[in-house]
Every structure is written in structure tokens, then in C-alpha cells.
């Protein structure tokens, strides 16, 4: 076809496109291949065959091809960018290309192989919905091809298309193709690639790229372009979990206060109950605004302005979420990290973490392992270097609101920035919170609403250690558990008195005091009991951080609840004391008359009688109050504290 004919043909196609543009959607895909697999040729072919190359570009390339002493047009030259690369005949960075058919606009993130391969591919893959992995039919599935597959799966690209290229050089033989399909399928299965497609092509000759090839008559599937045009985009969009990271506050005048942002996932409609993180304040969405006027709803990807029913203090970095669908809140992340900085990871550097619209300082507190991207083996590693991928723990200086990357790309991804050079050094994909209490005691986590317990060790202005040094004793939480009347309050009260008189910082928390104020809204259902103990644990944690010996006297009948409080505190600082006496002894004592009333049916849910009590399995101390006097019990507790080094000898 002559250039003029090309233009004619393109005009026809595009006129149609111009009319249909309202119908067009968008697919972002990435291409990966080893050097010389034919990636540039394929992209050139796609652009050429979809008439996306202008005559002046074509002329320039014809000229360049001639100057290289080659014939015709070298399609690979179309896509290669900077002069330095042209000179070295390599490409060094992700380049973006565009073409469109009447159905769809395409954005290609063209990621070259070579040295910085991993870094480039991760960058290109981060926004892609489809990956084309090129395999040279003559060479079969090489390490590199596996590496591309691995990175695609790591970045959760929903669709992977393996283009078996250079079929012309293997005489278009089906057995060659079939062997590659079998080989790669087995590998991809291990990676959990969701949607895997194979297409035999010749990028150079144009077989099966845009037009179906008779030379590959044994292949019944779609051509490469047809697949790109018809693959179901957006099927992987998360339209369930509403997450709205606030980007910018819009306040033109006193009467309007709107929160601008792009819906990271889920949908939102006016009137819905929402919660603002981190404050936790609940309110409703008053309106969803756009330039065109109020909207009935907004969904993932929409840039809108949200207004709230109540005056709530909201700023950039906060997140608006649905009341009964919260992200994880925490500052310690378990994540896969791809290191892209030239300087290796340094555990002592306070990197800047950018996550949604929130940023703070963060340390990479641990490298759990590194993955050899070629063999996919995990290996021990002290640090990560450029192009390394590994599993790490990241500790941020403020709580972040996140989801696992697997289910939510927008709230599960982050970058790390070097605080000295300001260069982006790592790309992270969150697996979840660093597993502490939740992992150890899965039953203790009351659903996704749980605020990750990790927030505990967060930067107090004056660290506890300094307070302890000044106080001359250690901080601890003594948790007295047991049935009503067992002696918890009496013993704890005496212990506190003795400590106080010895100059120790103390605080005693008991059920009655807290239920009067902070926990006044809670009843005695299992859920309310759990919440009661959770709050007590949090309060105890604060006094603990302040350097006190905190004495808590709560029936606290459920093991999980106590375990949760224990998980809030460092090893050795939670002393669980089981205050115990047999039930008939308690009935005999019955100081508040509760047992008698329960026996008459006047009190429901009395622990030990009509509600369960789960005795501790491995408490630090057991005080049998039917065998000990109060003073003996008190002495035992104090002796234990000295033995633990919490009190001076």
C-alpha cells in the first residue's frame, strides 16, 4: 500500500472512530520480552497495522532504516526513543505508546529488558490491566519469560497474553507452539495467573497480529489485536470496598467544605454512613459533587468532591470509608518490596512512605527474604539491592489505612522515597499488617473493624524507657481475672496501696469505674464484653506507656479478650493473675449477693453460673484465695514483681 492509500484507509477507520468515540473505552497494557524477542517489532507492527503512524513519522523511519543500510521500514525503529539509546541500540526506560481502534484506546507501557529490567517492568506493570509476554518460538520458554510472568503475577495484572513470536522461523509448526504452551501453562499455574492466553504470531511478517494468518491455519483463536480489543477490562475493578483518600480540601467560602479525591475503590452514594479515618468520626455523605452538578453516585476511578453532613475535621491524607467496611489501620506493614533505588536498602534510613494521599516516615525494619526472580526461590537476605524483590516489614511513623494489594491495588500499594535525594527507591505491595495478635489469636480479631494492635509502640514523645529510668521501676500491667467474689479487687487494692506507699507510679482500673464513664454504653453480651475489655486494654496501655504499674481487675471471662490485651504489650510486661476459689466457696462469701440473686433467676449472665468463664491456660500467677490469706496473696504478687525485675530488689 502506498502512503496515500494508507491514509485513505486510516481515514475510513478513524471517521468511524470519531463518531463512535463515546463508546470507546481504555485498555492499558504492558509488553515484556527478552532482548531480540521482537517486542519493538510487535509494537511497531501494531501501530503500523492499525494505521496509527503518520506519514511524516513513516518517512523519518524509512530514512533511518536506509541510513542503517537496511531495506523497507524497520518497525522496531518506530518505538525507540532517545538518541542515546538509538546510538547504543538499546532502550533504557519505560516508554508509552498510543493507538486506538474504533472500539478502544490503548496505552502501551513499553518496558525494555536489559539491566534495569525488573525496575522497568514493575513500573510499567503497576498501571497495566494486561501484560503481553513475548516468547521467541525458536528459544522456547526462557528464564526471562518466567521472570516476566512472575512480575506480572506479583503486580496482579489480571490478564496475561503470551505471544509466541517468530513463528515464521519455525515454519509455523504447531508442535513447536504446543510445546511452549504446555511448558508455560505449567509454570503459570504455580503463579496463580487468572487469565492466561496464548497466540502464535510473527511480528515481522504480521501473522495473527492484526489479520488472521493462513499460514497458522491450525490456530483457531483470536488475533492479538482482536484479543486486546475484546478482553474484558474493568472486570477486576474493586467496586465493593469504598475507599476515598482525601487529596485536597476545597473551601471556596464559609458555606462549602468539600473533600476532593479520586475514588480508590468501591462506590459511594449520597446519604451513606461513612467514617473518617484516622479520627473515626462517623457521619453521612451529604453530596457527591462534580463540575456538572451533584451526582447520584461515584465509583472507583472517578475524581469527585464529597461533602459530609456534619462539620468534621478532615484533611489531606485522611480517608473516608463506609462505616461497616473499614480498611486495616496500622503502622506496621508486611509487604513485598521491589527495590528500584541505586543505593541499596538501608535499615537506618528514615524513608518517606507515600501511600494513597498519606505520607510519613518509615523504616524497613526487617527483610524477611529475597526472591530470586529467575528460580523463584526464597533466600535469606540482609538487605535489598536495585532490582531485588523481597518480603519485608515496614514500620511507618503514623497509622496507614490499607488493604491487601491482592484485593485492592490502590490502597495496597506504596512507594518509598529517599529523604536525602528525594528519589523514589522502592515500590511496595502490602500483604497485610505485620502479624502479631491477629495471627496468634485469629478468633480475637472482631472482624475487619479491628484497629491493628501495632499502633502500640508508636513514637511517644517521651519514651517509656526514660520514664522508667526516672521512676526507678518498670512499667507493667497486672491483670487480675476470676469470678465475682474471688478476691480480685481486694488483693489488687492492697497491692496498689503497698506499691504507692513505696513511691511506685500506679493506677488501678476496675470494671465499675470504667463502666461508669468510658464504657457506659456497653452491656454484658459477649460482643460488649469483648469491647469492654478491648477499651480497658487500650487505657491500660496508655498508663503503661506513662511508666505505671497498672492493676486491672476484671472478670474478663474470655481467653481471646485477655490474649488481645496481652498482645498490646511487650513480652514480659503483661502479668496475668488468676484469682481463684471454688464456686461453693464463692457462694458462701457472696459479698454482693449476686450468686443468691442469680440462683433465684434475678440476674442473667452471671459468669460462672449462667455465663461461661474460660480459665487461663498459662497464667503468670494463680492465687488460690481459699488457701491463702489476703496478705499472703499480696506478698506473693510483690515478690513476683521483684523477681521479674520490675521493682527494685
Amino acid at each position: 500500500m502506498s502512503v496515500a492509500e494508507e491514509a485513505e484507509a486510516r481515514a475510513g477507520g478513524y471517521e468511524q472512530a470519531a463518531r463512535q468515540y463515546r463508546e470507546m473505552d481504555l485498555l492499558r497494557f504492558t509488553t515484556a520480552g527478552s532482548v531480540d524477542d521482537g517486542k519493538s517489532t510487535l509494537i511497531g507492527r501494531l501501530l503500523y497495522d492499525t494505521k496509527s503512524i503518520f506519514a511524516d513519522q513513516l518517512e523519518a523511519i524509512e530514512g533511518a532504516t536506509r541510513r542503517r543500510g537496511e531495506e523497507g521500514i524497520n518497525l522496531a525503529l518506530l518505538t525507540d526513543g532517545l538518541r542515546a539509546e538509538r546510538e547504543q541500540n538499546i532502550t533504557i526506560d519505560v516508554a508509552y505508546r498510543y493507538f486506538a481502534t474504533p472500539r478502544r484506546k490503548f496505552i502501551i507501557a513499553d518496558t525494555p529488558g536489559h539491566v534495569q529490567y525488573t525496575r522497568n517492568m514493575v513500573t510499567g506493570a503497576s498501571t497495566a490491566e494486561l501484560a503481553i509476554v513475548l516468547v521467541d518460538a525458536r528459544k522456547g520458554v526462557l528464564t526471562q519469560s518466567r521472570r516476566h510472568g512472575f512480575i506480572s503475577s506479583l503486580l496482579r495484572i489480571p490478564h496475561v497474553l503470551v505471544a509466541v513470536n517468530k513463528m515464521d522461523l519455525v515454519d509455523y509448526r504447531q508442535d513447536v507452539y504446543d510445546a511452549i504452551v504446555a511448558d508455560y501453562s505449567g509454570f503459570a499455574e504455580k503463579l496463580g495467573v487468572q487469565d492466561l492466553t496464548f497466540i502464535p504470531i510473527s511480528a515481522l511478517a504480521g501473522d495473527n497480529v492484526v489479520a488472521k494468518s493462513e499460514r497458522l491455519g491450525w490456530y483457531n483463536g483470536a488475533t492479538l489485536l482482536h484479543h486486546l480489543e475484546s478482553v474484558n477490562v474493568g472486570a477486576d475493578r474493586n467496586l465493593v470496598d469504598f475507599r476515598f483518600p482525601v487529596q485536597y480540601v476545597i473551601r471556596p467560602h464559609q458555606d462549602f467544605r468539600g473533600f476532593a479525591g479520586r475514588v480508590a475503590s468501591g462506590t459511594v452514594t449520597p446519604g451513606e454512613e461513612v467514617v473518617v479515618l484516622p479520627s473515626g468520626v462517623a457521619t453521612r455523605v451529604r453530596s457527591v459533587e462534580a463540575f456538572e452538578g451533584p451526582l447520584p453516585r461515584a465509583a472507583e476511578g472517578d475524581s469527585v468532591v464529597v461533602t459530609l453532613a456534619d462539620e468534621v475535621d478532615v484533611s489531606r491524607g485522611d480517608m473516608i470509608v463506609r462505616r461497616n467496611n473499614l480498611p486495616t489501620v496500622g503502622s506496621r506493614l508486611d509487604a513485598m518490596l521491589c527495590w528500584i533505588g541505586e543505593q541499596p536498602l538501608d535499615p537506618a534510613t528514615p524513608y518517606v512512605i507515600q501511600h494513597t494521599t498519606r505520607s510519613s516516615r518509615a523504616f524497613v525494619s526487617r527483610v524477611v527474604y529475597r526472591i530470586d526472580v529467575d528460580t523463584l526461590h526464597r533466600e535469606e537476605a540482609a538487605r535489598l539491592e536495585m532490582n531485588d524483590i523481597g518480603r519485608v516489614e515496614v514500620t511507618a511513623s503514623v497509622p496507614l489505612f490499607f488493604d491487601a494489594y491482592q484485593g485492592n491495588r490502590a490502597t495496597g500499594s506504596f512507594i518509598l522515597v529517599d529523604p536525602y535525594t528525594n528519589v523514589t527507591v522502592a515500590a511496595g505491595m502490602i500483604r497485610g499488617p505485620v502479624q502479631t495478635a491477629d495471627e496468634l489469636f485469629p478468633a480475637a480479631a472482631p472482624g475487619p473493624a479491628a484497629v491493628s494492635p501495632d499502633v502500640v509502640w508508636e513514637g511517644w514523645n517521651v519514651p517509656r524507657e526514660e520514664r522508667e529510668a526516672r521512676n526507678g521501676h518498670g512499667a507493667a500491667v497486672l491483670w487480675f481475672t476470676g469470678l465475682s467474689g474471688a478476691g480480685k479487687t481486694t488483693i489488687a487494692g492492697r497491692v496498689e496501696r503497698r506499691l504507692f506507699e513505696a513511691g511506685v507510679q500506679t493506677m488501678l482500673l476496675d470494671g465499675d469505674t470504667l463502666r461508669h464513664g468510658l464504657n457506659g454504653d456497653l452491656g454484658f453480651s459477649p460482643a460488649d464484653r469483648a469491647e469492654n475489655i478491648r477499651r480497658v486494654g487500650e487505657v491500660a496501655r496508655l498508663f503503661f506507656a506513662q511508666g505505671a504499674i497498672v492493676l486491672c481487675t476484671f472478670v474478663s471471662p474470655y481467653r481471646e479478650d485477655r490474649a488481645r490485651v496481652r498482645a498490646l504489650l511487650p513480652e514480659g510486661r503483661f502479668v496475668e493473675i488468676f484469682v481463684h476459689a471454688p464456686l461453693d466457696e464463692l457462694r458462701r462469701r457472696d459479698p454482693k449477693g449476686l450468686y443468691a440473686r442469680a440462683d433465684r433467676g434475678e440476674v442473667a449472665n452471671l459468669t460462672g453460673v449462667s455465663a461461661p468463664y474460660e480459665p487461663p491456660e498459662a497464667p503468670e500467677m494463680v492465687l488460690r484465695t481459699d488457701r491463702l490469706s489476703v496478705d499472703e496473696a499480696v506478698d506473693q504478687v510483690l515478690a513476683r514483681l521483684r523477681a521479674e525485675g520490675l521493682l527494685p530488689g
Binding site: A11, Y14, L26, D56
Partner: protein, 316 residues
């Protein structure tokens, strides 16, 4: 009399809302996101306003991004002094209508102050000189982020350009020192004296821009639409008659029906012969175009790597 309330008939459940979005919706949302990100991350952004359709579309997007507030940055125009009067009038009307701040810095001023030397000869253009005026203006106004209308489809060297393009203290662009952009996390951290160029239209093509102009009913200067004009033919393109470009031997003015695909410096912006008088006709024409938009710019035609060289020096 007792009233009986009849319950309303059970309503058919509303059709599941469609969350599908067209390519233009997605491009628009992405650009708005970028503009807000700049407003949040930078202290003194400005929008480089050339008078061309891309910067007019940027202004339109900026209005949408911050509505109902005004967008929180001024327009900055680097005036070569060789602009089409239509474009200048349009610029002033637009700024007045939106009530936004318009700052103008002129190449003439840079010449008068001896910062640059005027090119001479028949091919003289102030296009290269404006880089100096621009960098001086950014420094003078202490602008830390300047929105540009550059698109990656325009030219090969732009294909690797970032949304957030880092410039060193000398305003220069180093292709090896650009930050990878992952997901939609943009790193705008900078050292003293450094700034960013931000390209909200990076992912748009010329056709997208025109389709969007049509969809949104964006107002454009008359230059973009077919009109009769005195032009002359040079180096394979039509240049407008202007006081700044003397005719060479053998060249002559003639009246033609033309329109401009880009609106820049009149000394190097070529017109194309066209009868497209409405946005819809232009969309069809652009869709069928045989030549890239930049193909009508004499400054890009000087050498294959021209664009890349200018970019390194701090060009738009």
C-alpha cells in the same frame, strides 16, 4: 371517613448502575487527579498558558478539578512577541471571564535586558529564546511546579516523559534522572531551587483532545477553524503573513483557506489547508490526518533529535 392507605405497588428494582467509563472519562479523571496532586504537594504552581488548544483544555480541566472554588494557581504566558493577535485576545478574554490571575513575561524583555540575543536571517525564530524567558520567569516567581500541555504522543522524545518531570536547579531535564512513576503515586519532593514540569495531558492523543473539546464544548481561538488568510509557502508548509517573517526571493503571498493545528509562534507555526469550520469537522479531519501535529512546526523540523535537545535545555 376513614382513609385506607394503599401501599404503593412494589417497584421494580432500579437497574444496576453502570460503572463503565469511556476513555475520555478516564483521561479526564486522571488529569484532574494530577492537578489536585500538584495543588496539594507544591507551594507555588502555575499553569503555562500558550494560547493553544492543549493549554485551553488544561484550563478547562483545572476549573473542573477545583470547582466550586477557583483553581489555586495563575496562568503564566511566555510571549514571544510573535503571537497571533487572535490568540492574545482570546487569552485576555479567557482570563477575564474566569477571573484568574494572568502573568505575562516577554522574550522582548529578555532581549532588552541582554539575557538572549535575537536570531537573524529569514529563518529567525524566537522559539528557542523563550526557554530563557521561561526559566527566568519561574525563578523570579519562585514557581515550583509548572503545568505544561505536553503529550506523549507528540514526539518520540516525549514518549518517556513523566507526569511529574523533575528539573534541576538549572531548569534542565536529565533523561537518566527521572523518577519511576508507579501506580498513581506521584513523588513531588524537591530540593531548593528545583522545580517540576507537570503534564496532565500526558496520556492524551491529539484526537482525544479534539474529541474532548467537542464533548465539552470548549471555546477555542478562531485560528483553529478554517478561514481565509494570506499565507506563503516555505519548506513544505504554509506560513502566515506577518510583520516578522520577510519573504525570500521566489516566495509570494496568496490567500488560502487554512486553519492552524497548533497555535504558537507565528514565525514557525504552519497552517494546513482545510475547510473544517466546526469542532466536529476537525475531529474527522484529525482522525484522517497524515501528518503529526508537530510536523507543522518548523522548529521540530530542523533535526530528528531537535525536540530532545530543546527538552534537555528546559524547553516546555
Amino acid at each position: 371517613m376513614e382513609r385506607v392507605t394503599i401501599p404503593p405497588p412494589a417497584q421494580a428494582p432500579p437497574a444496576a448502575p453502570s460503572y463503565r467509563r469511556s476513555h475520555l472519562d478516564q483521561l479526564e479523571s486522571e488529569s484532574i487527579y494530577l492537578m489536585r496532586e500538584v495543588a496539594a504537594q507544591f507551594e507555588r504552581p502555575a499553569l503555562l498558558f500558550s494560547g493553544g488548544k492543549d493549554s485551553i483544555v488544561m484550563v478547562h480541566l483545572a476549573r473542573k478539578a477545583f470547582w466550586p472554588a477557583k483553581f489555586p494557581f495563575p496562568l503564566l504566558h511566555i510571549d514571544t512577541g510573535h503571537n497571533f493577535q487572535e490568540a492574545l485576545d482570546f487569552r485576555d478574554r479567557l482570563a477575564a471571564r474566569l477571573g484568574c490571575e494572568l502573568l505575562v513575561r516577554t522574550v522582548q524583555d529578555s532581549i532588552d535586558r541582554g539575557r538572549v540575543v535575537e536570531e537573524t536571517g529569514p529563518h529567525a525564530s524566537r522559539n528557542a529564546l523563550q526557554t530563557v524567558t521561561l526559566l527566568d520567569a519561574l525563578a523570579e516567581l519562585r514557581i515550583d511546579a509548572a503545568f505544561g500541555g505536553g503529550r506523549r504522543d507528540e514526539e518520540k522524545a516525549r514518549a518517556k516523559e513523566r507526569f511529574f518531570s523533575h528539573r534541576d536547579r538549572f531548569g534542565q531535564w536529565d533523561p537518566r534522572n527521572q523518577r519511576p512513576e508507579l501506580w498513581n503515586l506521584f513523588n513531588g519532593r524537591r530540593g531548593p531551587g528545583e522545580h517540576f514540569r507537570v503534564f496532565p495531558l500526558s496520556n492524551w492523543t491529539e484526537l482525544d483532545v479534539w474529541q474532548y473539546i467537542a464533548r465539552e464544548g470548549v471555546d477555542l481561538p478562531s485560528l483553529y477553524f478554517s478561514h481565509r488568510r494570506e499565507v506563503f509557502f516555505r519548506d513544505g508548509q504554509w506560513l502566515a503573513r506577518s510583520p516578522w517573517v520577510p519573504l525570500l526571493p521566489g516566495e509570494a503571498y496568496e490567500e488560502r483557506t487554512v486553519r492552524f493545528r497548533t497555535v504558537g509562534d507565528a514565525t514557525c507555526t504552519g497552517a494546513v489547508e482545510s475547510t473544517a469550520a466546526t469542532v466536529e469537522e476537525i475531529v474527522v479531519e484529525v482522525a484522517a490526518a497524515r501528518v503529526t501535529e508537530r510536523g507543522t512546526r518548523a522548529d521540530d523540523r530542523r533535526s530528528e533529535a531537535a525536540m530532545e535537545d530543546r527538552k534537555r535545555q528546559g524547553y516546555f
